[in-house]
Amino acid sequence: MSPVIKKKGEKFTLPSKYLLFILTILCLLLVVLTFNTSLFNGPLGTIAGYIVVPFQRGISEVGSWMNDRSEELSEIQDLLEENEKLKQQIDELTIDITRLQQDKYELNNLRELYQLDSQYDEYEKIGARIIARDAGNWYSSFVIDKGSNDGIEVNMNVMAGAGLVGIVVDVGPNWAKVTSIIADNSNVSGKVLSTSDNLIVSGDLELMSEGVISFSQLIDSDNQVVEGDKIVTSSISDKYLPGILIGYINSISADSNNLTKSGCVTPAVDFEHLEEVLVITELKQQIEE
Protein backbone atom coordinates (compact mmCIF):
# COMPACT_ATOMS: atom_id res chain seq x y z
CA MET A 1 0.00 0.00 0.00
CA SER A 2 1.27 3.45 -0.79
CA PRO A 3 2.42 5.32 2.29
CA VAL A 4 0.93 8.55 0.96
CA ILE A 5 -2.67 7.32 1.08
CA LYS A 6 -4.66 8.83 3.90
CA LYS A 7 -6.09 6.38 6.38
CA LYS A 8 -9.35 7.04 8.10
CA GLY A 9 -8.94 8.92 11.36
CA GLU A 10 -5.23 9.34 10.89
CA LYS A 11 -3.55 12.69 10.40
CA PHE A 12 -2.26 13.18 6.89
CA THR A 13 1.51 12.98 6.80
CA LEU A 14 3.89 12.91 3.89
CA PRO A 15 7.03 10.78 4.33
CA SER A 16 10.13 12.95 4.38
CA LYS A 17 11.59 11.20 1.34
CA TYR A 18 8.71 12.38 -0.83
CA LEU A 19 8.76 15.86 0.66
CA LEU A 20 12.50 16.11 -0.03
CA PHE A 21 11.95 14.98 -3.58
CA ILE A 22 9.15 17.49 -4.22
CA LEU A 23 11.05 20.41 -2.69
CA THR A 24 14.21 19.48 -4.61
CA ILE A 25 12.30 19.62 -7.86
CA LEU A 26 10.78 22.93 -6.77
CA CYS A 27 14.20 24.39 -5.93
CA LEU A 28 15.72 23.25 -9.21
CA LEU A 29 12.79 24.77 -11.09
CA LEU A 30 13.26 28.03 -9.23
CA VAL A 31 16.99 28.01 -9.98
CA VAL A 32 16.38 27.48 -13.67
CA LEU A 33 13.58 30.07 -13.79
CA THR A 34 15.39 32.78 -11.86
CA PHE A 35 18.63 32.16 -13.74
CA ASN A 36 17.07 33.57 -16.87
CA THR A 37 14.18 35.71 -15.65
CA SER A 38 13.34 37.80 -12.62
CA LEU A 39 9.86 36.33 -12.36
CA PHE A 40 9.75 35.59 -8.64
CA ASN A 41 11.85 38.43 -7.31
CA GLY A 42 8.89 40.80 -7.27
CA PRO A 43 6.29 38.97 -5.14
CA LEU A 44 8.77 37.06 -2.95
CA GLY A 45 10.78 40.20 -2.36
CA THR A 46 7.66 42.10 -1.37
CA ILE A 47 6.56 39.52 1.18
CA ALA A 48 10.03 39.04 2.66
CA GLY A 49 10.57 42.77 2.70
CA TYR A 50 7.54 43.42 4.86
CA ILE A 51 8.41 40.64 7.31
CA VAL A 52 12.16 40.98 7.70
CA VAL A 53 13.14 44.55 6.87
CA PRO A 54 11.59 46.23 9.94
CA PHE A 55 13.57 43.91 12.23
CA GLN A 56 16.78 44.45 10.29
CA ARG A 57 16.30 48.17 10.44
CA GLY A 58 15.85 48.21 14.19
CA ILE A 59 18.58 45.75 15.06
CA SER A 60 21.17 47.21 12.74
CA GLU A 61 20.72 50.52 14.57
CA VAL A 62 21.50 48.77 17.86
CA GLY A 63 24.37 46.85 16.30
CA SER A 64 25.97 49.92 14.82
CA TRP A 65 25.58 51.74 18.13
CA MET A 66 27.40 48.92 19.96
CA ASN A 67 30.08 48.84 17.32
CA ASP A 68 30.56 52.59 17.56
CA ARG A 69 31.02 52.45 21.33
CA SER A 70 33.59 49.66 21.19
CA GLU A 71 35.50 51.40 18.43
CA GLU A 72 35.47 54.68 20.29
CA LEU A 73 37.27 53.09 23.22
CA SER A 74 39.93 51.41 21.13
CA GLU A 75 40.56 54.38 18.91
CA ILE A 76 41.07 57.21 21.36
CA GLN A 77 44.85 56.78 21.32
CA ASP A 78 44.96 56.60 17.56
CA LEU A 79 42.76 59.62 17.28
CA LEU A 80 45.06 61.75 19.42
CA GLU A 81 48.01 60.99 17.17
CA GLU A 82 45.91 61.42 14.11
CA ASN A 83 44.69 64.77 15.35
CA GLU A 84 48.28 66.06 15.50
CA LYS A 85 48.95 64.88 11.98
CA LEU A 86 45.69 66.27 10.68
CA LYS A 87 46.40 69.70 12.12
CA GLN A 88 49.61 69.82 10.15
CA GLN A 89 47.77 68.62 7.13
CA ILE A 90 45.18 71.36 7.45
CA ASP A 91 47.88 73.99 7.10
CA GLU A 92 49.24 72.33 4.01
CA LEU A 93 45.81 71.90 2.55
CA THR A 94 44.79 75.51 3.12
CA ILE A 95 47.66 76.52 0.90
CA ASP A 96 46.60 73.94 -1.66
CA ILE A 97 43.00 75.11 -1.57
CA THR A 98 43.83 78.68 -2.43
CA ARG A 99 45.85 77.42 -5.35
CA LEU A 100 43.09 75.08 -6.44
CA GLN A 101 40.44 77.77 -6.15
CA GLN A 102 42.34 79.74 -8.72
CA ASP A 103 42.52 76.66 -10.90
CA LYS A 104 38.82 76.02 -10.47
CA TYR A 105 37.97 79.53 -11.48
CA GLU A 106 39.94 79.00 -14.62
CA LEU A 107 38.35 75.59 -15.15
CA ASN A 108 34.84 76.98 -14.82
CA ASN A 109 35.59 79.55 -17.42
CA LEU A 110 36.94 76.92 -19.76
CA ARG A 111 33.93 74.68 -19.15
CA GLU A 112 31.59 77.44 -20.04
CA LEU A 113 33.52 77.86 -23.20
CA TYR A 114 33.15 74.23 -24.08
CA GLN A 115 29.63 74.05 -22.66
CA LEU A 116 30.51 71.01 -20.63
CA ASP A 117 28.40 70.21 -17.67
CA SER A 118 30.24 69.50 -14.48
CA GLN A 119 29.31 65.88 -14.17
CA TYR A 120 28.89 64.24 -10.84
CA ASP A 121 27.41 67.19 -8.90
CA GLU A 122 24.55 67.21 -11.28
CA TYR A 123 23.39 63.65 -10.74
CA GLU A 124 20.24 63.46 -8.62
CA LYS A 125 21.04 61.48 -5.47
CA ILE A 126 19.11 60.16 -2.49
CA GLY A 127 20.63 58.96 0.74
CA ALA A 128 19.98 55.50 2.17
CA ARG A 129 21.12 53.56 5.19
CA ILE A 130 22.61 50.06 5.11
CA ILE A 131 20.43 47.76 7.22
CA ALA A 132 21.86 44.31 6.53
CA ARG A 133 24.94 42.71 5.05
CA ASP A 134 25.35 39.42 3.24
CA ALA A 135 24.49 36.48 5.50
CA GLY A 136 27.34 34.38 4.14
CA ASN A 137 31.04 35.01 3.87
CA TRP A 138 31.46 34.61 0.14
CA TYR A 139 30.16 37.78 -1.42
CA SER A 140 29.73 41.29 -0.17
CA SER A 141 26.32 42.58 -1.00
CA PHE A 142 24.11 44.54 1.35
CA VAL A 143 20.53 45.71 1.78
CA ILE A 144 19.54 49.37 2.03
CA ASP A 145 16.37 50.81 3.56
CA LYS A 146 15.01 52.51 0.42
CA GLY A 147 13.15 50.69 -2.33
CA SER A 148 10.84 51.16 -5.26
CA ASN A 149 8.54 53.32 -3.10
CA ASP A 150 11.35 55.86 -2.95
CA GLY A 151 12.01 55.69 -6.66
CA ILE A 152 14.89 53.25 -6.66
CA GLU A 153 15.23 50.98 -9.66
CA VAL A 154 17.49 48.12 -10.65
CA ASN A 155 20.85 49.18 -12.17
CA MET A 156 21.02 52.48 -10.34
CA ASN A 157 24.56 53.35 -9.25
CA VAL A 158 25.40 53.61 -5.56
CA MET A 159 28.06 55.95 -4.17
CA ALA A 160 29.47 56.83 -0.78
CA GLY A 161 31.48 59.96 -0.23
CA ALA A 162 33.29 60.51 -3.47
CA GLY A 163 33.58 56.98 -4.76
CA LEU A 164 31.60 54.22 -6.39
CA VAL A 165 30.17 51.59 -4.03
CA GLY A 166 28.21 49.35 -6.34
CA ILE A 167 24.99 48.87 -8.21
CA VAL A 168 21.38 48.07 -7.29
CA VAL A 169 20.61 44.52 -8.41
CA ASP A 170 17.28 43.83 -6.75
CA VAL A 171 14.45 46.03 -5.50
CA GLY A 172 11.56 45.48 -3.10
CA PRO A 173 9.02 48.09 -2.03
CA ASN A 174 11.01 49.18 1.02
CA TRP A 175 14.44 47.67 0.44
CA ALA A 176 17.00 47.24 -2.29
CA LYS A 177 19.97 44.90 -2.67
CA VAL A 178 23.29 46.41 -3.68
CA THR A 179 26.21 44.39 -5.01
CA SER A 180 29.41 46.21 -4.13
CA ILE A 181 32.32 46.55 -6.55
CA ILE A 182 34.54 44.55 -4.19
CA ALA A 183 32.28 41.47 -4.43
CA ASP A 184 33.81 38.53 -6.22
CA ASN A 185 31.09 38.46 -8.87
CA SER A 186 31.30 42.11 -9.83
CA ASN A 187 33.00 43.65 -12.87
CA VAL A 188 33.10 47.35 -13.72
CA SER A 189 34.35 48.91 -16.90
CA GLY A 190 36.65 51.78 -15.97
CA LYS A 191 39.26 54.06 -17.43
CA VAL A 192 42.43 55.70 -16.23
CA LEU A 193 41.63 59.37 -15.80
CA SER A 194 44.99 60.70 -16.94
CA THR A 195 45.35 58.69 -20.14
CA SER A 196 41.75 57.57 -20.85
CA ASP A 197 42.85 53.96 -21.27
CA ASN A 198 40.06 51.50 -20.64
CA LEU A 199 40.30 48.63 -18.18
CA ILE A 200 38.14 46.18 -16.27
CA VAL A 201 37.92 46.45 -12.49
CA SER A 202 36.78 43.24 -10.82
CA GLY A 203 36.23 42.33 -7.18
CA ASP A 204 38.21 39.48 -5.72
CA LEU A 205 37.64 37.62 -2.45
CA GLU A 206 41.34 36.80 -2.12
CA LEU A 207 42.36 40.46 -2.31
CA MET A 208 39.45 41.76 -0.25
CA SER A 209 41.26 41.19 3.06
CA GLU A 210 44.10 43.43 1.85
CA GLY A 211 41.58 46.17 1.05
CA VAL A 212 42.23 46.22 -2.67
CA ILE A 213 40.47 44.98 -5.81
CA SER A 214 42.04 43.84 -9.05
CA PHE A 215 42.01 45.36 -12.50
CA SER A 216 42.93 43.78 -15.81
CA GLN A 217 43.00 44.27 -19.57
CA LEU A 218 44.64 47.66 -19.44
CA ILE A 219 46.25 48.46 -22.80
CA ASP A 220 49.03 50.90 -22.08
CA SER A 221 51.70 50.48 -24.73
CA ASP A 222 53.38 53.80 -23.90
CA ASN A 223 53.84 52.91 -20.21
CA GLN A 224 52.19 56.14 -19.14
CA VAL A 225 49.95 54.70 -16.41
CA VAL A 226 51.69 54.78 -13.04
CA GLU A 227 50.80 53.88 -9.47
CA GLY A 228 48.52 56.44 -7.88
CA ASP A 229 46.60 57.23 -11.05
CA LYS A 230 42.86 57.76 -10.63
CA ILE A 231 40.46 55.23 -12.10
CA VAL A 232 36.92 56.36 -12.93
CA THR A 233 33.98 54.57 -14.53
CA SER A 234 34.26 54.66 -18.28
CA SER A 235 31.70 56.01 -20.67
CA ILE A 236 31.40 52.72 -22.54
CA SER A 237 29.93 50.86 -19.57
CA ASP A 238 26.28 49.99 -20.13
CA LYS A 239 25.20 50.26 -16.48
CA TYR A 240 27.59 52.63 -14.72
CA LEU A 241 27.38 56.37 -15.28
CA PRO A 242 30.64 57.85 -16.59
CA GLY A 243 33.17 59.68 -14.48
CA ILE A 244 32.51 58.25 -11.01
CA LEU A 245 35.71 57.69 -9.04
CA ILE A 246 36.46 54.01 -8.40
CA GLY A 247 39.89 54.27 -6.77
CA TYR A 248 43.60 54.66 -7.23
CA ILE A 249 46.08 52.26 -8.84
CA ASN A 250 48.02 50.49 -6.12
CA SER A 251 50.25 48.21 -8.14
CA ILE A 252 50.63 47.51 -11.82
CA SER A 253 52.39 44.80 -13.80
CA ALA A 254 52.50 43.58 -17.37
CA ASP A 255 50.59 40.43 -18.24
CA SER A 256 52.39 37.45 -19.73
CA ASN A 257 50.98 38.27 -23.16
CA ASN A 258 52.92 41.59 -23.10
CA LEU A 259 49.93 43.41 -24.55
CA THR A 260 47.82 44.16 -21.51
CA LYS A 261 48.52 45.07 -17.93
CA SER A 262 46.85 44.19 -14.69
CA GLY A 263 47.22 44.99 -11.01
CA CYS A 264 45.42 46.25 -7.93
CA VAL A 265 43.22 49.25 -7.22
CA THR A 266 42.67 50.79 -3.80
CA PRO A 267 38.96 51.68 -3.69
CA ALA A 268 38.05 55.28 -2.87
CA VAL A 269 35.39 54.08 -0.45
CA ASP A 270 36.05 52.54 2.95
CA PHE A 271 33.91 49.41 2.60
CA GLU A 272 34.69 48.24 6.12
CA HIS A 273 32.87 51.13 7.77
CA LEU A 274 30.14 51.82 5.28
CA GLU A 275 26.87 52.93 6.87
CA GLU A 276 25.18 55.47 4.64
CA VAL A 277 25.24 55.47 0.87
CA LEU A 278 23.93 57.71 -1.89
CA VAL A 279 21.88 56.23 -4.72
CA ILE A 280 22.04 58.10 -8.01
CA THR A 281 18.48 58.16 -9.28
CA GLU A 282 19.55 58.49 -12.85
CA LEU A 283 20.00 55.49 -15.09
CA LYS A 284 22.57 55.14 -17.78
CA GLN A 285 20.92 55.78 -21.10
CA GLN A 286 20.02 52.49 -22.74
CA ILE A 287 19.86 51.95 -26.44
CA GLU A 288 16.57 50.39 -27.43
CA GLU A 289 17.03 47.09 -29.14
Binding site: C27, L28, A132, A135, E206
Partner: protein
Protein backbone atom coordinates in the same frame (compact mmCIF):
# COMPACT_ATOMS: atom_id res chain seq x y z
CA UNK B 1 0.64 25.20 15.43
CA UNK B 2 2.50 26.69 18.36
CA UNK B 3 5.60 24.83 17.28
CA UNK B 4 5.35 26.29 13.78
CA UNK B 5 5.05 29.83 15.07
CA UNK B 6 8.00 29.41 17.42
CA UNK B 7 10.11 27.85 14.67
CA UNK B 8 9.29 30.77 12.35
CA UNK B 9 10.25 33.27 15.04
CA UNK B 10 13.52 31.42 15.67
CA UNK B 11 14.43 31.42 11.98
CA UNK B 12 13.64 35.10 11.64
CA UNK B 13 15.59 35.89 14.80
CA UNK B 14 18.68 34.01 13.65
CA UNK B 15 18.56 35.43 10.13
CA UNK B 16 18.23 39.01 11.31
CA UNK B 17 20.97 38.55 13.92
CA UNK B 18 23.29 37.01 11.38
CA UNK B 19 23.08 39.82 8.87
CA UNK B 20 22.99 42.72 11.31
CA UNK B 21 24.48 42.29 14.78
CA UNK B 22 27.03 39.63 13.86
CA UNK B 23 28.12 41.72 10.90
CA UNK B 24 29.30 44.26 13.44
CA UNK B 25 30.88 41.61 15.67
CA UNK B 26 32.77 39.86 12.88
CA UNK B 27 36.36 38.68 13.14
CA UNK B 28 38.28 39.46 9.99
CA UNK B 29 35.09 39.82 7.99
CA UNK B 30 33.80 36.36 8.94
CA UNK B 31 30.35 35.87 10.46
CA UNK B 32 29.14 32.67 12.13
CA UNK B 33 26.41 30.71 10.39
CA UNK B 34 23.46 30.71 12.80
CA UNK B 35 21.08 29.29 10.20
CA UNK B 36 23.20 26.12 9.91
CA UNK B 37 23.09 25.69 13.69
CA UNK B 38 19.31 26.02 13.60
CA UNK B 39 18.81 23.71 10.62
CA UNK B 40 21.16 21.01 11.90
CA UNK B 41 19.86 21.02 15.46
CA UNK B 42 16.21 20.87 14.42
CA UNK B 43 17.22 18.09 12.04
CA UNK B 44 18.67 15.78 14.67
CA UNK B 45 16.22 16.82 17.40
CA UNK B 46 13.00 16.46 15.43
CA UNK B 47 13.77 14.21 12.48
CA UNK B 48 14.11 14.47 8.75
CA UNK B 49 10.87 16.26 7.86
CA UNK B 50 11.34 19.13 10.29
CA UNK B 51 15.04 19.38 9.39
CA UNK B 52 14.44 19.72 5.71
CA UNK B 53 11.54 22.15 6.13
CA UNK B 54 13.50 24.43 8.47
CA UNK B 55 16.47 24.22 6.10
CA UNK B 56 14.28 25.10 3.15
CA UNK B 57 12.88 28.21 4.83
CA UNK B 58 16.32 29.36 6.06
CA UNK B 59 17.78 28.88 2.59
CA UNK B 60 14.90 30.64 0.89
CA UNK B 61 15.32 33.71 3.11
CA UNK B 62 19.02 33.86 2.25
CA UNK B 63 18.19 33.40 -1.43
CA UNK B 64 15.66 36.21 -1.56
CA UNK B 65 17.88 38.74 0.11
CA UNK B 66 21.42 37.87 -0.90
CA UNK B 67 21.57 35.53 -3.87
CA UNK B 68 21.29 36.18 -7.57
CA UNK B 69 19.27 33.05 -8.20
CA UNK B 70 16.54 31.75 -5.93
CA UNK B 71 16.72 28.11 -4.91
CA UNK B 72 20.43 27.39 -4.53
CA UNK B 73 20.82 28.05 -0.80
CA UNK B 74 17.36 26.56 -0.17
CA UNK B 75 18.57 23.33 -1.76
CA UNK B 76 21.83 23.23 0.20
CA UNK B 77 20.23 23.99 3.57
CA UNK B 78 17.40 21.54 2.88
CA UNK B 79 19.74 18.62 2.26
CA UNK B 80 21.80 19.50 5.31
CA UNK B 81 18.61 19.45 7.41
CA UNK B 82 17.56 16.15 5.89
CA UNK B 83 20.90 14.42 6.46
CA UNK B 84 20.99 15.67 10.05
CA UNK B 85 17.52 14.21 10.49
CA UNK B 86 19.02 10.78 9.79
CA UNK B 87 20.84 11.07 13.12
CA UNK B 88 17.60 11.55 15.04
CA UNK B 89 17.73 8.00 16.46
CA UNK B 90 21.19 8.49 17.93
CA UNK B 91 20.23 11.76 19.60
CA UNK B 92 20.06 12.14 23.38
CA UNK B 93 19.49 15.55 24.94
CA UNK B 94 22.25 14.94 27.53
CA UNK B 95 24.91 14.33 24.92
CA UNK B 96 26.60 17.44 23.56
CA UNK B 97 29.43 15.83 21.60
CA UNK B 98 27.34 14.46 18.75
CA UNK B 99 25.38 17.69 18.11
CA UNK B 100 28.65 19.64 18.08
CA UNK B 101 30.22 17.25 15.59
CA UNK B 102 27.13 17.33 13.40
CA UNK B 103 26.97 21.14 13.38
CA UNK B 104 30.69 21.44 12.58
CA UNK B 105 30.31 18.85 9.84
CA UNK B 106 27.25 20.61 8.41
CA UNK B 107 28.93 23.99 8.33
CA UNK B 108 32.02 22.53 6.69
CA UNK B 109 29.96 20.77 4.03
CA UNK B 110 27.99 23.98 3.50
CA UNK B 111 31.19 25.99 3.00
CA UNK B 112 32.63 23.40 0.67
CA UNK B 113 29.49 23.15 -1.47
CA UNK B 114 29.33 26.95 -1.70
CA UNK B 115 32.97 27.04 -2.81
CA UNK B 116 32.48 24.36 -5.44
CA UNK B 117 29.33 25.79 -6.98
CA UNK B 118 29.89 29.52 -6.58
CA UNK B 119 33.65 29.80 -6.99
CA UNK B 120 35.24 26.69 -8.47
CA UNK B 121 32.83 26.71 -11.39
CA UNK B 122 33.93 30.27 -12.16
CA UNK B 123 37.54 29.17 -12.34
CA UNK B 124 38.73 30.19 -8.84
CA UNK B 125 41.03 27.26 -8.21
CA UNK B 126 42.92 28.42 -5.14
CA UNK B 127 41.09 26.12 -2.73
CA UNK B 128 43.75 26.49 -0.02
CA UNK B 129 43.13 30.19 0.33
CA UNK B 130 39.36 29.85 0.52
CA UNK B 131 39.70 26.98 2.97
CA UNK B 132 41.96 28.94 5.32
CA UNK B 133 40.27 32.32 5.00
CA UNK B 134 36.58 31.54 4.70
CA UNK B 135 35.53 27.97 5.41
CA UNK B 136 37.67 27.10 8.46
CA UNK B 137 37.23 30.47 10.24
CA UNK B 138 33.49 30.26 9.68
CA UNK B 139 33.41 26.74 11.15
CA UNK B 140 35.40 27.83 14.21
CA UNK B 141 33.29 30.92 14.84
CA UNK B 142 30.10 28.92 14.32
CA UNK B 143 31.35 26.37 16.84
CA UNK B 144 31.89 29.09 19.45
CA UNK B 145 28.40 30.50 18.87
CA UNK B 146 26.95 26.98 19.01
CA UNK B 147 28.14 26.63 22.62
CA UNK B 148 25.80 29.50 23.55
CA UNK B 149 22.98 29.03 21.07
CA UNK B 150 22.55 25.25 21.17
CA UNK B 151 21.42 24.99 24.83
CA UNK B 152 18.77 27.64 24.11
CA UNK B 153 17.41 25.71 21.13
CA UNK B 154 17.54 22.50 23.16
CA UNK B 155 15.56 24.09 25.99
CA UNK B 156 12.92 25.52 23.65
CA UNK B 157 12.51 22.11 22.03
CA UNK B 158 12.28 20.38 25.43
CA UNK B 159 9.58 22.79 26.62
CA UNK B 160 7.54 22.32 23.45
CA UNK B 161 7.89 18.56 23.58
CA UNK B 162 6.81 18.23 27.19
CA UNK B 163 3.81 20.44 26.52
CA UNK B 164 2.83 18.38 23.49
CA UNK B 165 3.14 15.17 25.50
CA UNK B 166 0.89 16.55 28.23
CA UNK B 167 -1.82 17.61 25.82
CA UNK B 168 -1.57 14.25 24.07
CA UNK B 169 -2.13 12.46 27.38
CA UNK B 170 -5.33 14.37 27.98
CA UNK B 171 -6.96 12.79 24.95
CA UNK B 172 -6.06 9.22 25.90
Amino acid sequence: MKRNIISAILILFCFVLQCTVFRWLDFGGIVPNLLIILTASFGFMRGETTGLLIGFVCGLLTDIFFADIIGFYALVYMYIGFVNGKFNRQFYPEDIKMPMCLIIGSDFVYGFVCYVFLFLLRGRLNIGYYMMHVIIPEVVYTLIVTIFLYPIILKINYRLESKEKRSAKKFV
